[in-house]
Amino acid sequence: MAEQVVIPGWKKWFENIGDQVWFFFKFFRNIFTGGFEWSEFVRQCYEIGYRSMMLVGITSFIMGVVLIVQLRPTLVAFGAASMLPRTLAVSFIREIGPVIIAIICAGKIASSIGAELGSMKVTEQLDAMEVSGANPTQYLVVTRILATTFMVPLLSVIGDAIGLFGGFLALNLRDNMSFQLYFTKVIGSLEFIDFIPAFIKTIFFGFAIGFVGCYKGFNSNKGTESVGIAANSAVVTASLWIFVIDAIAVQVTSLLFYN
């Protein structure tokens, strides 16, 4: 009986990296060859964007309220209560909003894509598409990755607005601050460099969410339990990537704009 070959961990790690690079190459090549699946792209934008809007909206609203409630006592103690709109706006637009919304999207979207493609693999739908002569990368991967790359920034913008509105309601209830005063302070405190780098990094967040979800789903094993593993692994990996991208984006932004 043949002995089972044990592949060293480092070799598996490099194989995995190689697989991901190849997957990226296939995705990139398929964007430009063989026709774009517009109808599937629009459907995915609806599924990924519109269907996540409620979750993103509610979470952002709560985050806005919670941040004001948490920040207020400290700023009041320093006699800086008037800084609350500015503090919330800058922290929410630059960092908290994009990252929290991306993490929520990783939980909802990356897991959903991972599970969907994983289950398609288990039920041989991916193989069926492949052997029929159709291109599963073009139909399933390109559309999903581009849809997340397109929709996550939009969700982030909407989430930011709702979060700031949540902050206003919290301040209005506690300090009776008017809508006009609040948003005058918010808009006045924000600059071009607060918006643009934050928006650009959400594009990368969206790409990472779509890419990881598709990769994990496409490369899941053929057992039913692998669907759950693919979904779980997609969320964990996408979340990790979001923090890595955020760390890089903060360094780049800091070097370009704040030094």
Binding site: A2, E3, Q4, V5, E116, S119, M120, T123, E124, Q125, D127, A128, M129, E130, V131, S132, G133, A134, N135, Y139
Partner: protein, 261 residues
């Protein structure tokens, strides 16, 4: 091998034109496990070959090699005279249009209705754009498998037999010259199994297709086969008509036929 012929040696085709699939010395391993050890097979035009064998003997791996889902480690695998392992992606795609593949589960796309499942190969592979033509072809294909009533149903609402029929309709809609069936009757009740076997036979007659049918269903083998191959431990050990093999004294072959009257 008693009462049986050695595969791929005695039954030479009359001409090269008659052979649509020619496999010689095919080998495939997964890690240290040799799944296919020495596969030799010739499928002739309009012929139905049934492959019988225990689970895990490499039956499905063979047909996955034929469509290029898996690459062989050694040996020659020619479809329509072209070596599959040497084909470019583009050539493989062209070849796959000529080969239908019915998966064990039917492999219908869950997010699409039956109609959309059938439209998919027409719009993506044949690149048809005339909706009237597409509708006509979809209805014809579904009618030929007796599933026209379920045209706008989601796959999740279909029974196992209906899913297989819908899968079969999606397979034949592009008029393939070869159809590979991976356990088409597994998991179905005897009556539905018989219906699927009848369908396989009628499709062969109607569309003049050549088929390789992998099955454990002896009734399906009896009904649909022109030739039966018995696979064991990565190679074909016996070949013949259903009746010839039924009389075989080979222990492994006889084990398959022991419950057949």
């Amino acid at each position: 091998m008693e009462n049986t012929k050695e595969v791929g040696i005695k039954d030479k085709p009359k001409s090269r034109e008659d052979v649509v699939i020619a496999i010689k010395g095919l080998k495939k391993s997964f890690g240290e496990k040799d799944v296919l050890k020495n596969i030799n097979l010739q499928l002739k035009r309009s012929e139905n070959i049934v492959v019988l064998g225990r689970s895990g003997t490499g039956k499905s791996v063979t047909i996955q090699c034929i469509v290029g889902l898996l690459r062989q480690d050694a040996g020659s695998l020619k479809v329509f005279g072209n070596e599959v392992s040497e084909m470019s992606d583009r050539e493989l795609k062209q070849l796959r249009i000529k080969i239908g593949f019915l998966f064990q589960s039917g492999a219908l796309y869950d997010s699409m209705t039956v109609r959309e499942n059938l439209e998919f190969p027409l719009t993506r592979i044949l690149k048809l754009t005339d909706q009237a033509d597409i509708d006509k072809r979809v209805e014809q294909a579904l009618d030929s498998v007796g599933l026209l009533d379920a045209i706008d149903t989601m796959p999740s609402d279909l029974s196992g037999g209906m899913r297989k029929r819908a899968g079969l309709a999606r397979t034949i809609i592009v008029n393939p010259e070869i159809i590979l069936y991976d356990e088409p009757t597994t998991g179905l009740d005897p009556i539905t199994s018989r219906e699927i076997s009848d369908l396989i036979l009628s499709i062969q007659k109607k569309y003049k297709t050549s088929s390789i049918i992998i099955t454990h269903d002896m009734e399906c083998a009896r009904m649909a086969s022109d030739r039966v191959l018995i696979m064991n431990d990565g190679e074909y050990i016996a070949e013949g008509s259903f009746e010839e093999l039924h009389k075989s004294n080979n222990k492994i072959v006889a084990a398959f036929f022991k419950d057949i009257a």
